[in-house]
């Protein structure tokens, strides 16, 4: 059984900007531990000589020519944003106060 702690789950949630309740923390700690157990079983297999898979499709070099295509209309783009000003996206203050 994985040794995942509630604190680790809280940290991961914070990195993902998720605000979890205590109940959710308990629930997700159990679920995540199950997922990690599964990953641990895969990790335990002998994979010497097996190249890591970067992508499930056996394809490389999917490229496009360097040719300009039309961009979106700015008004339409900004209409999707919660707030805009002077042709730009307006976002809340970026740095939190040092606590």
């Amino acid at each position: 059984m994985s040794e995942l702690t509630r604190e680790q789950v809280r940290h991961v949630a914070k990195l993902a900007r998720l605000d979890l309740s205590d109940d959710e923390l308990d629930r997700f700690t159990g679920q995540l531990a199950g997922i990690l157990d599964h990953a641990a079983r895969v990790s335990a297999l002998d994979t010497d000589g097996v190249p890591p898979t970067a992508h499930p499709f056996p394809m490389v070099n999917v490229l496009r020519p360097d040719v300009v295509k039309p961009s979106l209309d700015r008004d339409e783009v900004l209409a999707c944003a919660p707030d805009a000003r002077d042709g730009r996206f307006r976002v809340p203050r970026i740095l939190e106060d040092e606590a």
């Binding site: 990195l15 900007r17 970067a54 992508h55 499709f57 394809m59 490389v60 070099n61 999917v62 490229l63 496009r64 020519p65 360097d66 040719v67 300009v68 295509k69 039309p70 961009s71 979106l72 700015r74 783009v77 900004l78 000003r85 002077d86 042709g87 730009r88 996206f89 307006r90 976002v91 809340p92 203050r93 970026i94 740095l95 040092e98």
Partner: protein
């Protein structure tokens, strides 16, 4: 104000840079306590914006200075369902870099997501490369010292944030505005090993790197406009020690000169901290050009945990032998070879050649001017007695002197000069032909740089042309000698000192009669001939 770390993206070089993984927290401070007991250790991370028509993963235009948010699409805005497709020219550019800096190009490289929350990337991650970059283990020789380049990888640039309120400072701002035109613009990040031991060496490395990137045509390398950004990882250690001190990363360095100043400042600051018994804090610092200091960004950088993972929406890049061969076959002349060629072909000094290559576009400008000079076939026909032929060296002297000075003063670039290379050749031709003196040429050059008139036109407009015509000058001298027969007699009877004095008098009279526009070389020769009775 540059926002904190994420907005000038740099994949941490932790896997490859020992100073990050093995750095001790403190350095033992010895008793002698002198700065010369310390050794400087520098590694440079250089971000280069690639000169493509479109962004890294979409067809939006890669253009500087457009109206905000006009070069955006579902891909670079990170809209749901949008899929990136890699720009083939970026791969070619990366392979050129691989060739120019002697990198290994692994059989396969992959993109990775670097996750962070910061509004300069609308996707909440930056697409970069992590453990499988396109270039590994290169080097650049700088003044006989080999600097190892750890890696070069492809990644996308971020958007531009403007902070509103609180004097535009991020810490006090009420809110920020974001323009995503730059988001998704292709970058190459080129990371050196901490092999650099002085600020001069750092400047030389950055300058040679810039000249090389310019030569292979992958970027316009304008540090002032941010198309080449140099971040300096600086630490100090006790001389003789082979461990690494705690480093800081200095950003916002906008010129090669500032790079040297910023490194020197950091060196002195860190030594002062350590000698006072303190510890250097590992942090990002911001160079302020105005006060000549670095300042802590005070961001919670240590809290970042980028959780890199392979980008599922992009398949690996596997440069084929054909792709690599095509790039190799098309490699242009690199700076070291070009310096050697110019030194040999133009009979200029190494120092002059290095100066030409040290400013983007300057060597191209000089070469264009020399070609134009060689094309001035009329030059020989124009040349009169005593005039030396215009040479490439004359061109180089103007370019490294007055023109480089003008570029420094105005912050302009050679390509933007109102004096075309052919016009400089014309100026050198005018001096060589004796039409104007070198001093007059300086004034003419100043005017040509200011208003773009051709030098020949300025000479005409200002009536500057020297009189070099022998019969005109001869008759002026004849007139003066005839009017001063006594002086001529005294000259002929006098000793060397008296002769010299009289000769100066005749020369002065002749110049006065010619309103200062007589060609002094021709006048001197004619005067000698006539005084010795041969004329």
């Amino acid at each position: 104000m540059t926002p904190p770390e994420p907005s000038t993206p740099s994949t941490p070089s932790a896997p490859t840079t020992p100073s990050e993984t093995d750095a001790p927290d403190t350095i033992e401070v010895g008793l002698d306590g002198h700065a010369d007991g310390w050794e400087l250790v520098v590694g440079l991370e250089v971000h280069v914006e690639l000169a493509t028509a479109t962004k890294l993963f979409c067809g939006c235009a890669n253009e500087f200075g457009q109206e905000p948010n006009t070069n955006v699409c579902p891909v670079c805005l990170g809209l749901p369902g949008a899929l990136p497709v890699l720009n083939e020219l970026v791969v070619e550019y990366a392979l050129r870099v691989g060739e120019a800096f002697h990198f290994d190009v692994p059989a396969q490289s992959v993109f990775a997501r670097k996750n962070y929350f910061y509004p300069d990337m609308p996707k909440n991650f930056q697409t970069s490369q992590y453990d499988e970059p396109i270039c590994l283990g290169g080097h650049l020789d700088v003044d006989g010292v080999r600097i190892t380049i750890t890696r070069a990888h492809m990644e996308e640039d971020t958007g531009k944030t403007t902070h509103v309120g609180g004097g535009g400072r991020i810490h006090d701002a009420d809110f920020s505005l974001v323009d995503y035109n730059r988001a998704g613009v292709p970058l190459l990040e080129i990371v050196s090993e901490p092999d650099i031991r002085s600020s001069e060496q750092a400047k030389a490395y950055a300058s040679e790197l810039r000249a090389t990137l310019e030569a292979i045509g992958v970027s316009d390398v304008k540090m002032e406009e941010g198309s080449m950004r140099v971040d300096a990882n600086v630490s100090v250690r006790r001389r003789g020690s082979d461990g690494f001190g705690t480093r800081t990363e200095t950003k916002n360095v906008n010129s090669i000169r500032s790079l040297g100043r910023a490194i020197e400042y950091e060196r002195a600051r860190q030594i002062e901290v350590l000698e006072a018994g303190g510890r250097v804090v590992q942090e990002t610092r911001h160079w302020n050009e105005n006060d000549g200091q670095t300042h802590s960004m005070r961001s919670k950088e240590e809290a970042y945990d980028y959780r890199y993972f392979p980008e599922p929406d992009l398949v690996p890049v596997a440069p084929t032998p054909e792709m690599r061969a095509a790039v190799r076959a098309a490699m242009p002349e690199l700076p070291a070879a070009r310096r050697d060629r110019l030194v040999a072909a133009w009979a200029i000094t190494e120092r002059d050649a290095a100066a030409l290559l040290g400013t983007p576009g300057l060597a191209d400008y000089a070469e264009a001017a020399v070609s134009a000079l060689e094309a001035l076939e009329a030059l020989e026909a124009l040349a009169v007695d005593g005039a030396r032929g215009g040479s490439p060296r004359d061109i180089v002297n103007w370019v490294n002197g007055e023109i480089a000075g003008h570029l420094n003063e105005t912050g302009s670039s050679p390509a933007a000069l109102s004096l075309a290379p052919a016009a400089l050749a014309e100026l050198v031709g005018l001096v060589a032909a004796g039409t104007i003196s070198r001093n007059q040429a300086k004034d003419v050059l100043g005017e040509a740089l200011a208003d773009g008139r051709r030098p020949a036109r300025i000479v005409t407009d200002r009536g500057l042309a020297q009189v070099s015509d022998e019969s005109s000058l001869g008759s002026v001298i004849d007139g003066i000698l005839a009017a001063n027969a006594d002086a001529v007699a005294e000259y002929r009877a006098g000793d060397d000192k008296a002769r010299k004095k009289k000769r100066g008098f005749f020369m002065g009279e002749a110049m006065k009669a010619l309103a200062g526009q007589g060609n002094p070389q021709v006048l001197n020769r004619l005067l000698d001939e006539k005084l010795e009775g041969n004329g």
